[in-house]
Homo-oligomer: 271 residues x 4
Amino acid sequence: MRLQAGCTLTFEAQAPTPLVLMLRPRSGTGQWMEREEYISKPNIPATEYTDSYGNLCQRLVVPTGHFEIRTEVIADTTDTSDVDEMAQYVPVENLPDSVLQFLLPSRYCESDRLGNLALDIVRNTSASGLPRTGYMQAETIRRWIYEKVQYRYNTSDASTSAVTTAEKRVGVCRDFSHLGIALCRSLNIPARMVVGYLYRLDPMDLHAWFEAFVGERWFTFDATQAVPRGNRIAVAYGRDAADVALATQFGPMQLTEMSVWVNEAQEAVVG
Amino acid sequence: MRLQAGCTLTFEAQAPTPLVLMLRPRSGTGQWMEREEYISKPNIPATEYTDSYGNLCQRLVVPTGHFEIRTEVIADTTDTSDVDEMAQYVPVENLPDSVLQFLLPSRYCESDRLGNLALDIVRNTSASGLPRTGYMQAETIRRWIYEKVQYRYNTSDASTSAVTTAEKRVGVCRDFSHLGIALCRSLNIPARMVVGYLYRLDPMDLHAWFEAFVGERWFTFDATQAVPRGNRIAVAYGRDAADVALATQFGPMQLTEMSVWVNEAQEAVVG
Amino acid sequence: MRLQAGCTLTFEAQAPTPLVLMLRPRSGTGQWMEREEYISKPNIPATEYTDSYGNLCQRLVVPTGHFEIRTEVIADTTDTSDVDEMAQYVPVENLPDSVLQFLLPSRYCESDRLGNLALDIVRNTSASGLPRTGYMQAETIRRWIYEKVQYRYNTSDASTSAVTTAEKRVGVCRDFSHLGIALCRSLNIPARMVVGYLYRLDPMDLHAWFEAFVGERWFTFDATQAVPRGNRIAVAYGRDAADVALATQFGPMQLTEMSVWVNEAQEAVVG
Amino acid sequence: MRLQAGCTLTFEAQAPTPLVLMLRPRSGTGQWMEREEYISKPNIPATEYTDSYGNLCQRLVVPTGHFEIRTEVIADTTDTSDVDEMAQYVPVENLPDSVLQFLLPSRYCESDRLGNLALDIVRNTSASGLPRTGYMQAETIRRWIYEKVQYRYNTSDASTSAVTTAEKRVGVCRDFSHLGIALCRSLNIPARMVVGYLYRLDPMDLHAWFEAFVGERWFTFDATQAVPRGNRIAVAYGRDAADVALATQFGPMQLTEMSVWVNEAQEAVVG
């Protein structure tokens, strides 16, 4: 589906405040950027760099006062996320070099402390005698989170990590993702965080999900949804939320307003 | 100035033909991408990667028949290219690691064979007793090319390199750039190729120029112009044209039509 | 001083176990590798890659049974670590792109939770009216840790992070480093973890310290020492211990023995 | 075979001369560095970086006068280079992103001008009716060079490129490699230059050969040898000799002496 997706962020800065934005999705598997807009008011100079995960990052210094950034993309996305129940676990020795880092614990995904829980989850569900592929392990984890963890706002904050979510069993999409990532990694399945847009998310907001590397590629998993859904636009990838904050500020500034939209694009942009 | 710049490339393919495009400018010094469009007909899947120079490259396979790609950006650009006549030559031992590669000879810039010419050019012009900075050396080379090499279409082809241009003293923007790069490198001044858009280029086309690293940064030099001009949008960087071909095809396909436009953008894109 | 430094790691594996080693120091500021040895018994094939921090990593699969890896370097090191009390704090907007990642919280360095402590430490010591440079802030943090945190073995484990160390005020070199890093980052001073060799460390072991980016470069800080000391060989860099584990295993294997030595090299290696 | 390989380079510098060395082989497929030495006289500070091909490069400034650099490795190498006559040509659209650059023309490999010759070579040999895999195309090219180009010293220089070698049919290992690379690329087979050590090369010297990407990996081809031989230590990779000069100097300095040795290592280095 051709999606028209975007967001507006409004800030109030008490002093000039450095800001790093990660709001530029790139074309990739399942998503092709047809058009992109990126407007700031006031219009201030910015530079762009690529971080070690390949995300395009914009650096700017927000002046004191009111600041607004608006970005919108029109993207061609696949209507379904790929599913491959037969995708095998990849032994660590066969993983690509660049994927190894997604096996390690990270700020919000303490995989070194969740091994027993992960084993419990996977074991309990393998009584069925079904083939236990890497994909199905990740899916079992995803489903377990979907069923056992309650989705509720204002139950977690920017410091909440997977261990806490595993205990309290409540959180939002970010927490669901962290837990899924940590559990996968504890089984030596590489997992990474994705933030982006999801069509028909309700209520509409920026979203977070995770990917697991099985078979020979990354697959999408979203523990906040009953069934896999497509029409996603990945905006940024990283080990966890510490890497993929869409806006990282270094100073006294409030995000006073934020709106997000993801609609079906109505017509071709150019003649 | 806010520029609206773009191009349409039309191809006829006799068979499915892999194509690598390098048509996505990135925000950087002196250019901020406000809006970008990228439409192909027929609409075919593509993937994107970043090459070792930081250029965004799109890979696709053009199907047999007619194929059209249209891209347009709205970019905020500076009205003048920076000039700093006092920017010093940087001794090789002080150059950043990543800049060293732009001292080496490359496919179209045989700097290993143009040292004497470069010395002649710089020596002849230093009689004035002016301080001979790195910037002024590059500028002297640029001016020499502007004055001594004739700009004429259909005098060079895709195999023409700097040595040939130095001999024949005729060529187009690509040849002018290669010669400027090769001459700078032969004096141990790092130089690289840029392709992109230039406002009020006449006749309008995609353009090529070069940059030299003096002082602590890259400066713009354009040997096809009498005086430095701004309002440029750099689309791709590389050692020479072999690195920055905007479209590299691997099969039997003709570029049947190409149009390029660079206009002042009329109004803000979004409300 | 020319140092001869090395270690032997002995493992017992219950099953073939993938292992990633990070034991190859590279030449860099203040350390020049003259000679390097790297022997495994049994001798098994390995491949090498560079991670996103520039560390050389070796991948191998340890066979079931006894496995030993021995590495030794002869390196020219500086006798003192650079100190520059006047090195200024670098405003975030002026940091190199590649340094920005070292401002973010990471697995063991929850800088997002230690801002108040960091401010307290720095404020309390600024009564002196001395210029408060970035270097001196990092040094004040280092000194505070040295004075307030007790160095004691077996008080922390592989899951201990900076917040815990800040509370319990006890730990080993790894914990001291994590705390120093987290406190620096909470003041927007980039900080990273280093593991390596230190001459005359007592008892001898592999060591960990941290670096802070002030002025225009990284400086060495070691909260386990009363005063700055040189003759260090940095082996690996990263955001915290999760990135720079010298040996990361993915399976059932015990490190049964480990010995480390750092001596003055006796004579030139080659005639 | 365990090889002990090294070289000594002696320079006379008329003035302080920046030098970039590329003399540190890395462990990789078919070669494992057990021990490495790297001594300069006088002993001068150097820094190290990784270029865009992954080569370890050392930067230093040679002082006026006599300078000597000696390096030696002990490496475990495979006795044969892998051969796989069935390794298929990889369609351009399926090549890894990082391999694409090795399809482009480069300074010494004008693949854009050698397409007809390459087709002739491959066509003439396919009369046999044998399956024409990518591997066999590269091997046919290699064999053609071995048979048709004469190996003779002092027939080429640092400016000689593949087109000239194709015409004159004489050269040394560097020229043979350039021609092989250019011919492969003109058939859309990625090819790259390798410099390194070869056991029992006669007369002993640093050597150059090339690799072609077929099947799913790089394979070794050496047009100076009758049959494929192993016991090689690749020291540096690049598009052609412009990228992999083992010593690149930027000033008035002579290489006055050079010796190279590659012997079977006698015994284990450490107890």
